[in-house]
């Protein structure tokens, strides 16, 4: 299964599924920002999961992570506006393709869910500020689940914008 869009491309092995989307904002909000010389930015988000991706889910996976079983993982690659480029938060090198299971922590989650653990990393690849966020369905299976994640990450291509 190939997921491609907004400069992301990844060939997913079974049973992964994925989606790329951009955010939506109201015209009123866009106008309001424009009135102060700014532009609302809704860069894309890539979601990958071995579980089902619900239609309504947060950019960092709320709603999706609720569906993870102990054998599942969720990956979000969240892009930021170009004004984040070069800032200390994002100036850490390219998106990592090989994660260390020891860096996953039960408290490393947006929302702590019993049994799960997470890892978050801000980075820049091909001029695109990104945040990699990975949730493991079972922290006790981190070694095995992270292998799967690393396999998917190795397939991920991030084109320059």
């Amino acid at each position: 299964m190939r997921i491609e869009g907004h400069g992301f491309r990844v060939d997913l092995p079974t049973p992964w599924e994925g989606a790329v989307r951009t955010g939506e904002v109201s015209e009123a909000l866009s106008r309001r920002a424009a009135a102060t010389g700014r532009q609302v930015q809704t860069p894309p988000v890539l979601h990958l999961s071995t579980a089902r991706l619900p239609a309504v889910r947060g950019d960092f996976g709320s709603g999706a992570v609720d569906l993870l079983t102990s054998a599942d993982t969720f990956v979000a690659v969240v892009e930021y506006g170009a004004d984040s480029l070069g800032t200390p938060l994002f100036d850490t090198g390219p998106l990592p393709r090989s994660l260390d299971p020891r860096r996953f922590q039960p408290n490393g989650l947006q929302r702590a869910i019993p049994g799960q653990s997470g890892f978050q990393h801000f980075c820049t690849e091909n001029g695109r500020p990104l945040c990699l966020y990975v949730v493991l369905g079972a922290h006790h299976s981190a070694r095995k689940l992270v292998r799967n994640v690393n396999d998917v990450l190795s397939r991920l291509q991030v084109a320059s914008r």
Partner: protein, 682 residues
């Protein structure tokens, strides 16, 4: 009434108890933020119907227990303040679209993450129903404060309805969304369907804002607006002008005066920073927050006249009172400059008057003032011509010509002019100005006396004078230096064989005292001699011996003429030596006038004391027209000068010089000086 009102009232009760915990914020940053909020939320008629929910769910929303993994709201753990607690910072945010908590606008949840150097321990909040996690989830949204590397625990969450990039400059406009958190809330936050004022107050931080805790319920106004008071200010809402947040003295004064239902009416615009203070426009006037931090409300004709005169940026400065009742059914306001504006409703007049002058009990009766005229020209040369024209409309037999750029020679020449009913005209050393030449012709002079040597008035100029008035006798009074020139002028005044009963002595290096001295000397026909501070020049010494005066008046303090010089003069001449001085050049000028004119004057001349030229030409005119000369600062009328005018009680005050020398502000003040007896203000 909806649930939202009851929630707000509960928050108010708690806020009152927790006020002392509210962090102190800078007023300016707060006001800047408040202005943004007020603008953004000006009008939003969106309304929502509450969805049926359980009691707790309707307050705190789903997943409100610690075990359910979400982070608590800051107001739950931060004394009711919707602000980041100490040791945390704004780290990122997400949006929930079209939220009932924000009157149908987007709602924003802000993460306050632990500062990298701070410590905190993971725990559960103990809110009424918000028992979510505190400082547990190591996670970051990342749109704010991107100068901070890495990720730390989320301490708590703030909720606002203002786009975060407007709320905090460090946040970018990258929008991230999580609609599944739509119903997350806490009992210390607004409920659904809040009023606009409740939204603004929450965005400002609730009790953590500079407003502090609420002190009233929201009050509806007759025109469909509303307002609410707080410990340190007011929020008001108008259907026409939007929401305004008034913090500090302005907000408290606004509330004390009845808010939008009071004399000021609604706030009509954003506050404007002026002269270290602030002006907030209202329907019927304005609120002025002074640099001293107090606030005063001005309304109606007085405020309009104040604005016309430049408001706080004008010479009046900020008001130091609000609208005060005054005798005769009038109102008045005092200003920092020491002046008042008073309004008489019986005539509609607004007048300026000194703040220490009381009004009469009868309406329509004001203190009498002098008329004010100005003798000026575009340059000092042309001002001298104007003074000559005005003071000697029928011409003169003699004119004194002095250099326009150096005062020393010219001052002595002013005395000579005064004794001969002659004007002082000015020339540059580059050539005789056409205006001066024309004035010499108009005057029909038979004698022109040039004061100073060729370095001050070149021979080419002397030749031009001869060409301009070929029938006149042109002579020059000069010495080797300014002291010798003054001595030569002295000899010309008295004649070479005559002494003088009185001689004035001033410092020859600075003009302020000399301005007053030349006037006094000129009016008395007494010579004016110059000296160094600590050394009596030989030319002056010789002239003093020749004049053999009985009285020598030293004008100025010992900084100008030392006691040693005064004593030397006394020993040299045997004269009685006395000083004429005041704390300033203005006091000295007033002292001279007071000594000479104890019975008042029909007219008074006023020139700047900050430059010599106008006062010098005015000094000669003073003797000619019989009007004493007083000095003023360029931008404001010194109190001593004002008092001198009050005592002289003239019918006319003539300003000598243009607005660069004597500003229009001084002209306004001169026109408002009482010139008849009046009651001092208690």
């Amino acid at each position: 009434m909806t649930h939202s009102t009851s929630f707000a009232q509960r928050a108010a009760t708690r806020a009152g108890q927790l006020l002392t915990l509210a962090p102190d914020r800078g007023r300016r940053s707060f006001l800047r933020r408040a202005a943004l909020v007020g603008t953004a939320l000006a009008v939003n008629p969106f309304d929502f119907i509450l969805r049926p929910q359980s009691a707790y769910a309707s307050v705190c929303g789903p997943a409100n227990e610690c075990s359910q993994g979400w982070t608590a709201f800051c107001c739950t753990i931060n004394g009711g303040a919707n602000t980041c607690p100490d040791g945390s910072y704004v780290a990122g945010w997400w949006k929930v679209s079209s939220s009932a908590f924000c009157r149908g606008e987007d709602r924003y949840v802000i993460d306050c993450n632990r500062e990298p150097d701070a410590t905190c321990s993971c725990r559960c909040a103990t809110g009424e129903c918000d028992r979510r996690r505190v400082c547990c989830n190591n996670f970051r949204y990342g749109q704010c404060n991107q100068q901070v590397r890495g990720t730390t625990e989320v301490v708590c969450r703030i909720v606002i309805c203002t786009p975060p990039w407007e709320w905090d400059d460090s946040c970018t406009t990258t929008v991230r969304t999580d609609e599944r958190t739509r119903d997350h809330s806490a009992s210390c936050l607004n409920g659904t369907n809040p009023t606009e004022i409740e939204v603004v107050y929450q965005d400002l931080g609730l009790v953590g804002s500079a407003l502090g805790a609420p002190t009233s319920s929201e009050i509806d106004t007759a025109d469909g607006g509303s307002w609410r008071t707080y410990d340190s200010g007011t929020i008001s809402r108008s259907t026409t002008f939007g929401v305004a947040v008034l913090v500090g003295p302005a907000g408290l004064t606004y509330a004390r005066l009845g808010g939008p239902d009071g004399v000021l009416g609604h706030v009509t615009g954003d506050p404007v920073d002026v002269a270290e203070g602030q002006v907030l426009p209202t329907q019927n006037g304005a609120l002025y927050t002074t640099p001293l931090g107090d606030a005063h409300a001005l309304t109606g004709p007085i405020d309009a006249e104040y604005s016309r005169r430049g408001g706080p940026a004008g010479w009046l400065g900020f008001p130091v009172t609000g609208m005060l009742d005054a005798p005769g059914g009038r109102q008045r306001v005092d200003f920092m400059a020491g002046w008042s504006l008073a309004h008489d409703p019986s005539t509609g007049e607004v007048r300026l008057l000194p703040d220490d002058v009381e009004l009469a009990d009868r309406p329509g009766v004001w203190p009498a003032t002098a008329g004010v005229a100005r003798w000026d020209g575009p340059t000092r040369v042309q001002t001298a011509v104007r003074v000559s024209t005005e003071s000697l409309p029928d011409g003169a037999t003699t004119a004194v010509l002095a250099a326009s750029e150096t005062f020393a020679d010219a001052l002595a020449g002013g005395v000579l002019a005064a004794t001969r009913r002659a004007p002082v005209l000015l020339t540059s050393n580059g050539g005789l100005p056409a205006e001066t030449a024309a004035e010499l012709q108009r005057l029909g002079v038979s004698t022109v006396v040039l004061i100073g040597g060729p370095s001050a008035i070149p021979e080419t100029v002397e030749a031009q004078v001869r060409d301009a008035v070929p029938d006149a006798q042109v002579s020059r009074l000069a010495g080797a230096d300014r002291f010798a020139t003054a001595a030569a002028v002295s000899a010309a005044i008295t004649g070479p064989d005559e002494g003088a009963p009185t001689v004035y002595l001033v410092n020859g290096r600075a003009f302020p005292d000399a301005l007053s001295a030349s006037q006094a000397a000129g009016r008395g026909g007494a010579p004016l001699l110059l000296t160094e501070t600590d050394l009596l020049p030989e030319a002056t010494r010789e002239e003093l011996v020749r004049l053999a005066p009985q009285d020598v008046v030293v004008v100025g303090g010992t900084i100008a003429v030392s006691d040693a010089v005064a004593e030397e003069v006394r020993e040299l001449t045997g004269a009685a030596v006395r000083r004429l001085l005041g704390p300033s050049r203005y006091d000295t000028a007033a002292a001279v006038v007071e000594e000479e004119r104890p019975d008042g004057a029909d007219a008074v001349l006023v020139a700047t004391g900050e430059a010599f030229a106008d006062a010098m030409t005015a000094g000669a005119a003073s003797a000619t027209v019989g009007a004493p000369l007083l000095l003023t600062a360029t931008g404001s009328l010194p109190a001593v000068t004002r008092r001198a005018i009050e005592q002289l009680q003239p019918g006319l005050v003539v300003i000598v010089g243009g607005t660069a020398a004597v500003t229009d502000a001084v002209a306004q003040q001169l026109a408002a000086v009482p010139v008849e007896d009046h009651q001092p203000r208690g």
